[in-house]
Structures are given as C-alpha cells and as structure tokens.
Amino acid sequence: MSGRPVGEVTLSVEAVSLAFGGVKALSEVSFDVREHEVRAIIGPNGAGKSSMLNVLNGVYHPQQGKIRFQGREFEDMDSHEAAAMGIARTFQNIALFKGMTVLDNIMTGRNLKMHCNFLQQALWIGPARREELEHRRAVEEIIDFLEIQHVRKTPVGRLPYGLQKRVELGRALAAEPKVLLLDEPMAGMNLEEKQDMCRFVLDVNDHFGTTIVLIEHDMGVVMDISDRVVVLDYGRKIADGSPSEVRGNQKVIDAYLGVAHSA
C-alpha cells in the first residue's frame, strides 16, 4: 500500500485503441491513475499490457482515444515530450547502455536536467563543471537508496540480472519522474530479489511520492503492493478496482484460467 494519501487523478486514458495492421492490440481501453497511487495492470500474456505502457510514454501512437496527463490532453504522446513532462519507465527486457558503467547509465537519466551546451562541457569551465558535480551528488543519493554502491563503477554488462534491473530503476528515478511506468520489474527474479524489488518500489512511492504504474504477473506481488488494479484481456479492459475486488471477479478468473472465449 502506498504510504502517502492518494490524491487526484493525474493520468487518464480514454477509449484508446491501438492496432498493428490487422492485429488489434488495444480496443477502447479507459482507466485512470491517481497521484501517489501504485496502479497495477495485469492480464494474461498478449493481453496488451506492454502496448498500453508504450502508448502512455509515446513509443506507440494509438489510432483512437485520448490521453490526459496533469490536465493537458493529447491525441498521442511523443516519447521525448513524455520524458520532459516527468513520465519515466523501465523496460521488460533490460534496455541498459552496455558500453557504460552503472554510474554513467544513471547519470544519463538526468540528461533532461542538464542545460550546459557542448562547448561549455568541452572546456569543462564553471557552469558545466558545477552542473556535472551537482548531478553526480543527486545520482549518489539514488545509488545509496538502491544499495548498489559496491558496483558503482562496474560496466553494466557484467552485472547479474537482479542488479541490472535495479540500475534500470535507478536510471528512471534519476529523471525525478512524477509517474514511473514499470514493465514487469520482477520478471525472472528469485524470491529474495523479488522481495528486495518490492521494497524498493514501495520505498520509491513512499520516499519520493512518485505515482507508479506497474505491470506484473506475480499475483502475490500485485495483491500486496498495489492500490488499484486494471485487468486487460485480448486488448479489452475486463475489470478495474481494488485487488480484493479484482481477485473475486469471475471474468478475471476465466481470463487467467482460459475459459473458451466468445468471438
């Protein structure tokens, strides 16, 4: 459960439809996300969860429907603009920059906050140098928060899977986002790593007050840490509500246990 009181609706999606050629990934999906909330999106494989996330942060552009974020309305999001407005995300299969160390990877998360032009950086003069050191300090807070001090200067490619997931969370946090989209942050983790990641997600929501939109398969995790859950199946929303409501909903059980679908 989120530590802070859940506030007003900050992000909402109305009747969004997305199709690749003939394949309808999403059809008329609408749901909203409140400030400081931990909002889960669940559903069987291929239900359109990742596509929904990609629509929210502008990687995919829906053919139909509206996205409303902090009062402003959009036909579709531009990923660059989404980042600038404070929507950050992690990827299902890790999208870290293999050629850089952990520290550099997280520092790239802060690029939107650094304003010196390349000439100042080349000469490493006053403002550029100060800016670099200030942001290094902020990144160190995140490294301390995620307890990855001991691998600060190791190239990311050499880290075990669990740590890479944490570094990716760190990079998303570096942008000090208002909304954090997590695409199966606990996929492929053992019990211990899962518990750690749950703790980190809750700490982020509690400590930084970031609204969290979480895609997750592990029902145990979803039930434990999310405030409200939206369930997608074949690109359609079939349930929306608190974890206990959703758990009891017959449609959800059918979707997961695979009852024959109507056309």
């Binding site: 530590g3 290094r136 300090r137 160190e140 807070e141 490294i143 301390d144 001090q149 001991h150 600060r152 700490d203 509690d206 400590h207």
Partner: protein
C-alpha cells in the same frame, strides 16, 4: 605534540582545545555517497555543542548513563562526546549483539537515554523496551525505513540537532559552564566486558584513567595531528574506542570510518592509515586471503612469491629494525621490496603504516613474523578493558615474536606464586558498576589489579604471557599445558580457522578443529572435489588428511621445545559446525569460550580420550533462511603422529 594533561583533563575540554588550535585539520572522515565526507575539528566541535544542548533539552543530566549502539559513524562519536560534555556517562554496546544481550546493561545502569544508528538497532531497542522501563528517549541517526514509526520515544538526529542549535543560540554559556564543571576524576565512559566468563561486568573508567595511558602511548610512538587511523572494529570494544576516541582526543589525529563492514578492505586501501590496530583474528583472515589469491598465480608467480617470502623471513625483520644484514641478502630484499613487499603492502592498504599494534589475545609467532618481514612495523601490546589497554608495548628497537614488551611508563607489574600477573597503573578502572563484590575480587586493597593472566618477565624485561590462569594447567605428568600457545600455532595454517585444545589434568593433548571454509573450499576446488557446504567439507577424509599434516608439522615444532615437548597433539576431530558468537561459543570479539565449548561438547571430548574412531553427534542447526533442523552424523576421530622430544627435527 600532545600537551601535558594539566587543565585539559576531560574529553570535552580536549575537543574544544583542538577546535581552537587545529580547527581546520580533519577530525573525522566517513566514506559515504562515493567520497570521503570530512568534518574538521571546528565543525566536529560545533556539532558536539549542538547535540549536547539538544540532549540537555531532552533532560539528560550529569551522572546519568547514555547507551550508544551502532557502527563507527561520525554521529556516533559526536553523540558520545556530547554526552560527556553534560557530564553524562556514555555506555557503548556491541552493534552485532542480539536484543536480549542489550537488556542487561540498560537495566543494570537504569539507562534512560539511548542512541541507535539505524532501523536495525532501533528495532532491537524497541523489542526490549518492556523489560527496560527506564528507557525514555531513543535518538536515531539513519531515518531510512523509520518514516512510519510513531513511538513517542523516537527522536530523529536532525530534530535533536535543530533543537540543540536553538538552545545553544539562546544560552551559549550553559554548555561552557557544564564543560568547565567536568574534571579528570569524573567517570568518562563505561565498557561492558565481553568477558569469557559469566555475566558481563560494567567497567567504569574516568577521564584520567583513559587519557593518561592514551597520552603516554602516543608520546612513546610520536603520534601527532597528521596521523590517520581506520576505525573498523566494534566501537563498544575498548580495543577500538581507545584508538578512535581517547588517543584521537589526545593527539588530534584523524579517524576514518569505512562505508560498511563489507568494504573495509577497499576503504583501508583508499585511506592508507598511518596508525593501525588489528586483533590476531583479523591478521589471520588477512593472511588467509593473501595465500588464497596467491594460489591462483601461474607456477612462476608462485615460485617467485615463495622465494622472496623466504628471503623476507630470513632478513625482513632485521632490516626493519636496522640490524646488520649481509649485502647479498640486503640486495635480494630490496629487489623483493620493489616487486613484492611494496606492492603487497600497497594492496593491503598498509603502505603508510608508521606503527601497527596487535593485542586482545596472544598472536602466533609465525603470523607476527609474516607482517614484520614484509616491512610493516607491527608490534605486540598487552592490556585489557580494566587497564584501559596500554600496559605493555614493544618499543621499536626490541620486537620479539613471543613477548608483549616492557611495561609502559607509570605501570607497575607484580606476580603471585601461581604466576598470575598483578598490575597497578594510572589507567586502572575505577570499579565494576554496581558490583562491589567483583570489584573487591579484582582490585585488592593496595590497588593491585588481578588480571587472571599467567606469565613471567624474561631477562630483557619483556613480559611474556602464557595463558589465562584458569586455562593454564598441567598434563598428568606435570608439564606445562598452555592451550592458547598450541592453538595459535595451529591457526597459522590458512586451512585452520579455530582450534580448541584439551589436556589439563589429562595424560594427552587432544583438539577440536574448525576448518576455514574459504581456504579449504579453494583447496578442494583445485582438486575438483565437489562439496555441498561446510558440514560436508568438514567430514571429508581428504580434509582430515590435510588437517593431520598441519597438526604433525606443529607437533614437529613442539618436539623442538623441551619444556612443552610432550604437549603434542595426539588425537583430533573436525567439528561439524563453525563455532559462533550467536551460539555463545565465542565472545563478541571472536575469542573462544573454552569452558562453555568443553561443557557443550563433553561427549565429543570424552570420545577423543577413548579409543573410538568416531563419535555420534546430535545438534540443532539454524539454516540461512531462519528454519532450523536437527543435524546428526558420526564425526571421525583421527590420530596424529607424535615425535620423540629431543630428536624432533627443527621445523623450518
């Protein structure tokens, strides 16, 4: 140079003096957020002033006790000094102790105020709150995870500091008068002995009894404000506190706090301390790490390492002490210095060590010689909690492997007929807190302190410790039986981590062995011997062979020393589990509790002295994730070859 004790007779006064005289010099550094955060003496003194005013605001008064639980952190030492400013008595407790172990000291000293480092320590204190009604306020430093703790007792450090800043601004004179009230005779701190026997006792130390020996030792070694020491041992142990508090306040040198206990090696290398203290156990682990990593060198590297270490063994110590050495050897040594000893010291972080001490228990001579031979000025020291550590120190010129050096200026030594050592010195403790009976037993009328250690002074005036009086015994045939001496010889081998010898009032010496999982694991992997865990490794015949070889080399050594020749080890077994402080088998500073181990495994001891080749053992084991199960197995017992006394060849 350290000024005379004169009017600067308490910790706070010294602190304020440093803030004036060397305000800009670094007082404390802590590796945090990727760099070494630094507090100068002035900043440190200001922080102490504000915390003191804050604690006064909470109601901490002169003479009251103040518990501190946590690792080496600047705020830990600041809060300790702040309490001393108000005349309160800080009581540091072991941070890795379990909650129940903390209850006794708090009840014993009816402590009302406590300082806890982080959520882990706060949870322990909250757990024992019901048994300690007197505990009113708990200040905590690291707020991580504590955002939703609503208990009224909890006071975050920052709020304490703010309140203190406010109080100090309103009434600065208050604190100056409080500090001025303090005098050398007041109680400065109380340390609970980890004690190898019975209930822990609160050793009360005055400002004088801590500062005088600290200053004497500092002057002996010429320590000054440019020195740096790494504080990595538990601050509740006087062995660490005397170096990171008493001597720091006396000389004004800088204390460096590592980032976390796992990164001590790396932090040691970064900070490069000039003043170093390590109990034998730490030096053993270091040597084991070195030998494991050297094993992985290619054969040429290993050969070179062996060759140059032999050179160092022969002449290293002499060169360190400036004694004459043949020119050929000296050249070889300098070659070794460039390629091996210099880099080895550098990787261990000891390149800048001016003086290093080892104390707490007797150290094996080979282990001691290893460090001196590669050019580290390691010296032996004798002392205890009750004597504020400094009793005997080996001066630079006269360092011998098996003595602890002459007495320090102002310390008198005397022996009882049973060879028990008695000590009188300005560093003696005032008393055991609320335990007059124990105090009278330990300190007799003329002020002599009964150390409980047996020993004698050798011809050059160096004190030589044999063992604990209780443990020193004799074999059935009367020869001296000093278990510690045998155990240290065994522990020099990287494969053996701990050993417990039995032989008092018996005809033969037998031993329990604890293998070192890393070293033996590495040894097993080299012979691609699969093993599942410690217990499985410990039960292997090949491992028994390995241990038997070590024991036989020790026996060969012992054969060469006539007076203890027949205390060679006849039979041994490898314990199925590692001796652990949590099971009460070791003290918090990893010293073996011989009596408890003897009683707990009496069936195994009996088996050792019978003729049986194995013994059945049934024990409760706690697995890593908290579940516990019963472990039952037959421990093998093996004999070790014993050498005829005189004829024993001199061990290399």
């Amino acid at each position: 140079m350290a000024t005379d004790i004169g009017k600067l007779d308490t910790f706070p006064k010294l602190l304020m003096h440093h803030a004036l005289v060397r305000g800009a010099r670094p007082a404390i550094r802590e590796k945090d957020l990727g760099i070494w955060q630094t507090w100068t003496w002035k900043e440190f003194a200001d922080e102490v002033r504000f915390v003191a005013c804050g604690l006064a605001g909470l109601g901490l008064a002169r003479g009251e006790h103040f518990a501190l639980v946590g690792d080496n952190r600047p705020r830990f030492y600041a809060t300790m000094a702040a309490a001393q400013c108000l005349g309160a008595i800080p009581v540091p407790l072991y941070q890795d102790a379990v909650a129940t172990e903390m209850a006794f000291p708090i009840q014993n000293a009816s402590i009302e105020f406590a300082f806890a480092e982080d959520q882990e320590q706060v949870d322990k204190l909250l757990e024992i709150l019901p048994q300690c009604p007197t505990l009113r306020k708990i200040c905590f430093d690291d707020p991580k995870g504590l955002r939703h703790y609503a208990q009224p007792e909890l006071v975050p450090y920052d709020r304490l500091l703010e309140a203190g800043r406010e109080n100090y601004r309103r009434d600065p004179a208050f604190l100056e008068t409080e500090i001025a009230k303090g005098s050398g005779g007041d109680t400065a701190a109380m340390f609970f002995t980890s004690g190898t026997t019975g209930v822990p006792k609160g050793v009360v130390h005055t400002h004088a009894s801590l500062l005088v020996p600290a200053r004497t030792a500092a002057e002996l070694e010429g320590l000054g404000e440019n020195d740096v020491i790494l504080a990595y041992l538990p601050p509740a142990w006087i062995g660490q506190n005397i170096f990171s508090c008493a001597q720091a306040f006396v000389t004004g040198y800088c204390i460096a706090c590592p980032e976390a206990s796992e990164t001590v090696m790396a932090d040691m290398r970064e900070i490069g301390p000039t003043y170093y203290f390590a109990p034998p156990r730490v030096l053993e682990n270091l040597l084991t790490q070195v030998s494991i990593r050297i094993q992985d060198l290619w054969w040429g590297g290993r050969w070179a390492y062996g060759y140059f270490m032999a050179v160092a063994n022969r002449v290293g110590g002499k060169i360190l002490e400036g004694k004459p050495v043949p020119i050929g050897e000296r050249l070889l040594y300098y070659l070794g210095e460039l390629f091996l000893y210099g880099p080895l010291r550098n990787v261990l972080g000891m390149s800048r060590v001016k003086v290093g001490y080892t104390a707490g228990e007797a150290i094996g001579p080979d282990l001691f010689r290893f460090y001196r031979s590669i050019g580290i000025n390691l010296k032996q020291l004798y002392g205890s909690t009750e004597t504020a550590v400094f009793v005997c120190i080996q001066p630079d010129g006269q360092v011998k492997p098996d003595t602890v050096g002459p007495a320090v200026r102002g310390v008198e030594l005397k022996f009882t007929p049973e060879r028990e050592l008695l000590i009188r010195s300005p560093g003696l403790f005032k008393e055991y807190y609320r335990n007059a009976q124990a105090t009278s037993e330990a300190k007799d009328a003329e002020g002599w302190f009964h150390t409980g250690d047996a020993g004698f002074v050798d011809p050059d005036g160096h004190l030589k410790i044999i063992d604990r009086v209780k443990d020193v015994g004799g074999l059935a045939d009367g020869t001296l039986f000093a278990p510690k001496y045998l155990e240290n010889k065994l522990k020099f081998f990287p494969h053996i981590r701990e050993a417990v010898c039995f032989g008092d009032r018996r005809d033969r010496v037998c031993a329990f062995i604890n293998i070192d999982p890393d070293a033996v694991g590495n040894w097993a992997e080299k012979r691609n011997m699969p093993y599942s865990g410690y217990t499985d490794l410990a039960s292997r015949d090949e491992v028994y062979e390995l241990v038997r070889e070590c024991i036989e080399r020790v026996n060969a050594d012992l054969a060469g020393e006539p007076e203890i020749a027949n205390s060679q080890i006849h039979r041994f077994l490898i314990l199925h589990k590692e001796l652990d402080a949590d099971d009460g088998e070791l003290t918090r500073t990893r010293k073996v509790r011989r009596r408890i181990v003897g009683e707990k495994y009496d069936s195994l001891v009996a088996a050792l002295y019978s003729a049986s080749r194995s013994v059945h053992v049934e024990a409760q084991i706690k697995y890593e994730d908290g579940r516990s199960g019963i472990y039952s197995a037959d421990l093998k017992i093996r004999d070790a070859k014993v050498f005829a006394p005189a004829a024993g060849k001199r061990a290399a």
